[in-house]
């Protein structure tokens, strides 16, 4: 292949005018100003920056067009939008909606950064008025009042000497050379990308840290993570905010309860009461969200004749959701909530009381013991479950599994990460099974409760009964898988692994 000089990209420290550019060129060259292009761009992504993190960009151009671009600015999919378009399912059916369903199945995409992008084209000509180098100047005028300027030089075949001469001249304005220049490099440094929220908490635990201090610190961090979701809940951006809020509160609650003996009774009682109250506030809203998110799924379960009734039910639930949402939003924005949170956090920030035997124990040893005993509990409960065991025992096992999952995830940093991840993976299979079993039962109860309501028409009742029957069948099917999944998780080899990873050797201890 022909050897051609490659294009070069630079970030400029200041704006540069065409006069200034002309002035730095050697006398034998002329600068011709071509036609410029300008557009308003909005960078969209969800709260977790999932689209950007997968190497793509979602751009809203001129208000009514969405474009999904890859890392080289190639258009992967686009569509024109009208009205509310915050979720993939609100976009017109097509390629873009499909791709965004994969990238952001639940979360809304919101404006992350907006700017006015101006591109100026220049041609540098020799004494024959032949173009020897082309240049592009990009001005990113951010709505956050921060402006950025970039320049790209494009070599032309057969004009290598001229190209290197002109690149040398550019050194006069001391630009910062970049490996590449595309929309990603133009927009992302200007936006706050890179500050994307941590998905999992990192506690920086040390093995020998006393339990009370460590658990308090972990609780503080998780409450912080929960609080980061508050504004998203209040603004009702997507259902994931309230979900993540609840997950963090639930994890904190589980942690405090598993390590209750690390605190004085008084402190433990306070944590328990406050966390329970925090968690329960969002129960109803989350129930409605879960049901509404599964709208399509429910539709598919029923014959078309029952859809009108189902439609009525969903409208009913949407109204209830609106009420539940308002209550939660008012609660989170209110002073009572703030007081509750600050009381919790004040207490967690207080110096350890060291009032119990466990409070001073080394956290790694204690966490290991907790994991082992929790596994033993699951083992004992699991053995007792067979095909005829009442459902309640299966539900109880689900709760215990959730606790060990939290323990494994929260304390991963103290143990060999790879092995812990493998155990979590295995546990997840069982948990998913138990989770579905529970979901079907909760959904059935929810529907039965709904069926007892007033003013239900015959077609609404028919669809409720239809759904209940389908869900019952699904639940029975899920129940039939439980025993096998438990058997895998309580297998001897897994027991041995738990022992190896988490059991403390009384002689050596775990604190080296």
């Amino acid at each position: 292949m022909m050897e051609t000089a490659t294009q070069a990209c630079y970030r400029l420290h200041n704006k540069i005018s065409s006069q200034k550019l002309r002035a730095i060129l050697p006398k034998s060259y002329a600068l011709c100003v071509g036609t410029g292009k300008q557009k308003n761009l909005i960078l969209l992504d969800n709260y977790d920056w999932d689209i950007c993190q997968s190497g793509l960009l979602l751009i809203q151009e001129n208000k009514d067009e969405f474009q999904l671009l890859d890392g080289n600015d190639n258009l992967l999919a686009s569509c024109s939008v009208q009205g509310e378009s915050r979720f993939w399912w609100q976009l017109p059916v097509g390629n873009l909606a499909d791709k965004l369903e994969e990238l952001s199945p639940i979360r809304a995409f919101v404006p992350k950064y907006s700017c006015y992008l101006k591109t100026d084209h220049f041609a540098i000509t020799n004494t024959d008025e032949k173009i020897v180098v082309r240049m592009e100047l990009y001005s990113v005028i951010g709505s956050n009042n921060l402006n950025f300027y970039f320049i790209k030089t494009l070599p032309l075949r057969g004009y290598k000497k001229e190209y290197s001469q002109i690149r040398k001249c550019l050194a006069a304005i001391k630009p910062e050379e970049l490996p590449d220049l595309n929309l990603r490099s133009l927009l992302l440094p200007s936006s706050s990308e890179g500050n994307h929220p941590e998905k999992k908490a990192i506690f920086e635990l040390t093995a020998t840290e006393p339990a009370e201090a460590a658990i308090s610190r972990m609780a503080v961090k998780m409450i912080q993570l929960a609080r980061r979701q508050e504004q998203g809940v209040i603004d009702d951006i997507d259902t994931e905010f309230v979900h993540q809020y609840r997950v963090n509160i639930r994890k904190t609650r589980s942690l405090i309860s598993l390590f209750k003996k690390s605190f004085s009774l008084e402190r433990y009682q306070l944590f328990k009461t406050e966390l329970k109250s925090l968690g329960s506030q969002t129960n109803e809203l989350r129930d409605m969200d879960v049901f509404l998110l599964d709208q399509d799924y429910y539709c598919k379960m029923l014959p078309e004749t029952l859809w009108p009734g189902l439609d009525h039910i969903f409208r009913r639930i949407k109204r209830r959701r609106t009420t539940a949402f308002k209550r939660v939003a008012n609660y989170l924005a209110g002073t009572a909530y703030l007081e509750q949170i600050s009381c919790l956090s004040r207490t967690l920030h207080q110096p350890p009381e060291l009032a119990t035997k466990q409070s001073g124990m080394k956290i790694r040893q204690l966490a290991g013991e907790k994991i082992i005993s929790q596994y033993q509990l699951i083992h004992a409960d699991g053995i007792a479950i067979n095909a005829d065991t009442p459902d309640q025992a299966v539900h109880d096992l689900r709760i215990e599994c959730k606790k060990i999952r939290y323990l494994l995830e929260l304390f991963t940093e103290l143990f060999p990460a790879k092995e812990v991840r493998q155990l979590v993976k295995l546990l997840k299979v069982l948990q998913d099974n138990l989770g579905r079993f529970n979901d079907f039962s909760v959904q059935r109860e929810f529907l039965m409760h709904l069926g007892q309501g007033k003013n239900l028409s015959a077609d609404q009742l028919a669809s409720i009964n239809g759904l209940t029957a389908v869900l019952f069948n699904k639940q029975v099917n899920e129940r039939s898988l439980v025993v096998d999944n438990i058997t895998v998780f309580i297998d001897e080899s897994i027991s041995a692994q738990f022992k190896k990873l988490f059991e403390t050797d009384p002689k050596k201890g775990l604190d080296e």
Binding site: M1, M2, A123, D128, E129, K130, I131, L156, R157, G158, Y159
Partner: protein
């Protein structure tokens, strides 16, 4: 990749103007195009403001080293269009070709090496019938022959056709078209009618006589750049569209 030669034994019939404008429209239609200026006078290089590298006698090496050609490629001011400018040492081609051997497919072998980079190669040929011309005839998928509708031009085209016949080149490659047509001249009209009768492969579109074609030297650019709305420009676009159709069919 297709190779298209603009060729005539006769000088001053509009070979270079045609090569330049056809190359321009081909590139504009999305074909990655290379214009190879084989005429040592370098008129098409001049129209595109491209100068050859100051290298001695690379013409002598033309058929030896493929890499040598690539070093000569220069981008034009237009997207998709590159030029290999003419070089005075091209005058030695014939002597050189005569020296090495009598093979006529050397040029085709060299140009084949460019098929990954270009969709279309346009050869602007010098007005000779020689070893170089025979290499061009062997390499080209289409030999475009500009013909002024006059008796002398008709005679030249007849000679070329006979040459193709005698030397066993496919006459289907020969695609003539009229240039510098002056509709007011009766001779032009009569010659055109009689030639179209005898040669069915004549392109339907013709290039009228126009001062805009001559102005290419002043503006050093394809006609579209300085006389967009003019008849000559429209004629070249129509001619290119017709050539494109023939290329696709061939």
């Amino acid at each position: 990749m297709k190779i298209l030669a603009c060729y005539s034994m006769k000088g001053g019939v509009g070979k270079t103007a045609s090569a330049v404008n056809i190359a321009y429209w081909a590139a504009k239609s999305g074909y990655r195009t290379l214009l190879l200026d084989l005429d040592p006078q370098g008129a098409s290089s001049f129209y595109f403001r491209v100068k050859p590298a100051p290298k001695k006698d690379w013409g002598g090496r033309f058929f030896k080293v493929y890499g040598e050609i690539l070093k000569q490629v220069k981008a034009s001011d237009f997207a998709n269009l590159d030029i290999i400018p003419a070089h005075l040492s091209f005058r030695n081609f014939d002597i050189f070709l005569g020296q090495i051997n009598k093979r006529k497919n050397r040029m085709l072998q060299v140009l084949k090496g460019l098929k990954k980079e270009y969709d279309l190669i346009i050869l602007d040929c010098p007005p000779t019938i020689s070893q170089l011309a025979e290499n061009i005839f062997a390499a080209a998928n289409m030999v475009l022959v500009p013909v002024i509708p006059t008796t002398l031009s008709e005679r030249t085209f007849d000679q070329l056709t006979s040459f193709f016949k005698n030397e066993d080149y496919s006459r289907r490659k020969l695609i003539p078209f009229f240039t510098m047509v002056d509709g007011r001249k009766q001779l032009h009209q009569q010659t055109a009618i009689s030639m179209r009768k005898r040669y069915k492969r004549f392109l339907r579109n013709a290039i009228p006589y126009s001062s805009d074609v001559e102005k290419m030297g002043k503006y050093r650019a394809p006609i579209d750049i300085f006389a967009r709305g003019k008849q000559a420009n429209k004629a070249y676009l129509a001619l290119w569209t017709e050539i494109e159709r023939v290329l696709k069919d061939s």
